[in-house]
Amino acid sequence: MQVIRQTEEALARSHQAGLIHGACHTYVGEEAIAAGVCAHLTHDDALFSTHRGHGHALAKGVPPRELIAELFGRVTGCSRGRGGSMHLFSPEVGMMGTSGIVGPCILQATGAGYTFKLLGKPHVGVAFFGDGASNNGAFHEGLNLAAIYQLPTIFICENNQFATEIAITYATRNADIWTKAASFGMPGVCVDGNDSVAVWQAAGEAIARARSGGGPTLIECKTYRTRAHAEGMRDGGYRSAEDVEKWKARDPIKMLAARMPQEQAEFAAIEADVKALVEEAVAFAKASPYPDGITATEHIYA
């Protein structure tokens, strides 16, 4: 969680400094979800993400320097500078991509589940997506497919209560997204998405079930993003400052620390280590070269 938080904060500062060329949607406030789920995954498990995917990439094992370099448009980035924030790829660690289009990750994780079932492998496909995506056809089609074929796929809905500025309570008459699992005949679970231990427990059960042939699970994590939808965007008019403050007080990192008062020294040591790691990563990214323009049309075909 510290790696995600500090990397995101470094990215936010870098965005203000003009080092990030395109969009930047941060994951600040939602770190417990990626951390709690990915703790159960290996590099053989396939993770499919959204436009808000920095946390997923980091938790899956992409080093901060490769993520930051990517957003800086450098050739050392995890997508060699061709992708930016919304096209982060690191298949080596099972990071199968963030996406500028809302929805496809749900279907692709279903496809990964199909592969693993087909080839008899004990791996899982995992989709991370927002509340907004749960009203997209991809959600309904993907969950139904995963259920009828009993695929080892885990659907993690990060309900931060808004899709850009549209409230989930406006976009659906049933804002308890986890209950929708029942209509596909699949287990649905609801957890406090700011409680890393609760996420870890729920994900652990679902992933163990999927690995042993028990089929898919939908896990809704109720959470909140405490920064604007994207860096540089306004953050008023659609939600109250009090709500933002209320959720900031439920900071997932502080909530975990509060559970373990006797471990404060270790928490502080982790924070300091991560600070050094992220500083080094930013310096690495800044020093990295831009890709050569003549490589722009490479990799269109195999």
Binding site: M86, H87, G132, N136, T164, E165, P291
Partner: protein, 327 residues
């Protein structure tokens, strides 16, 4: 004359028309109280409320299909996609339903739908936020495809779209949306018909055909080349479907040389179509092989160095014009 941005110009047309035509409604993500990601509907929600400025879930296929049914039953839906890239989830509804409905009903149904979105490469938007696809849509019978290059034309063409009984794709390049240009007063009710290109610069040595952002770049190149003694005629297509070939052929008759400059892919694109028609109908007027200059045939990369490499630059356009003149 006063100056307006693209967005302000089309918003004026929309505001004026919504006041007199109660069948118009707008659908999209964030087009209600927020006023649209690009400001396309700013201030209209306060006037007309949530039924006419309808915020949607992220359900493109759903609300495009809804718009089709609404258009079949007496409404005039405008679907605002913000980035055109998001239209792709709804392409089945467009190609199989919206584009074919008038034909399937033997002309008894009309299909007054506007599908609008921002297009084009720039500002490291990367491959899911940079597409244009106008030649793809122009390939399909039944659709009107509009790509304005300045606020004046955007307003006049949008006014036509608001009265059209055919489905219209109204596509604006996001890198020029904020640019201002002269637009007549609100009292001037001018419209611009579909299928009428504009001779944006008169010249005699070579005809350059373009649209959208590239049209503006071509005009800049023409200005520079005037200093080198090359007189360039620049034609702004404004609409891809219908395509105004008479204006292109008239110009070619005068210049004998033609270059099509287009940001999007060369294969099966705007240049391919224009040049095919030139070969069919203007072959005897050609003093040199017709030429085209396109963006690279690739998904759009993020990094500024890569992004710049896939779009025709000012220098590349100027050189392509020199080459056609020298050929």
């Amino acid at each position: 004359m006063r100056e307006l941005t693209f967005t302000a110009a089309t918003r004026e047309a929309l505001t004026e028309r919504m006041a007199v035509d109660p069948s118009i409604f707008v659908m999209g993500e964030g087009i209600g109280p927020r006023g649209g990601n690009f400001g396309t509907t700013l201030g209209l929600y306060e006037k007309h409320g949530p039924l006419r400025l309808c915020d949607t879930p992220i359900a493109e296929r759903g609300f495009v299909g809804l718009a089709c049914g609404a258009a079949m039953t007496g409404a005039r839906p405008i679907v605002d996609f913000m980035f055109l890239d998001f239209i792709l989830d709804s392409v089945g509804e467009i190609f199989n339903q919206i584009a074919k409905m008038q034909y399937m009903s033997s002309g008894r149904l009309k299909m007054p739908v506007i599908l609008r979105g921002c297009i084009g490469i720039g500002s490291s938007a990367a491959t899911h936020h940079s597409s244009s696809y106008y030649s793809v849509f122009a390939h399909v019978p039944g659709l009107r495809v509009i790509v304005p290059s300045n606020p004046h034309d955007a307003k006049g063409l949008f006014r036509t779209a608001l009265r059209s009984d055919d489905p219209v794709l109204f596509l604006e390049h996001k890198n020029i949306l904020h640019l201002k240009g002269p637009v007549p007063d609100e009292s001037d009710e001018y419209t611009i018909p579909f299928g009428l290109a504009n001779v944006a610069r008169v010249g005699r040595d070579v005809t350059v055909v373009s649209l959208g952002l590239m049209l503006r770049r071509a005009l800049e190149a023409a200005e520079k080349l005037a200093g080198e003694g090359i007189s360039v005629e620049v034609i702004d297509l404004r609409t891809v479907a219908p395509l105004d070939m008479p204006t292109v052929l008239t110009s070619l008759k005068k210049t004998g040389r033609i270059l099509v400059v287009d940001e999007t892919f060369a294969p099966f694109g705007v240049g391919a179509e224009v040049i095919a028609q030139v070969n069919e109908r203007g072959f005897d007027d050609l003093d040199a092989p017709p030429a085209r200059l396109n963006g690279a045939h690739t998904p759009t990369p993020y990094s500024p160095t890569l992004e710049a490499a896939v779009v025709p630059s000012f220098d590349a356009i100027a050189q392509a014009i020199r080459d056609v003149v020298a050929a």
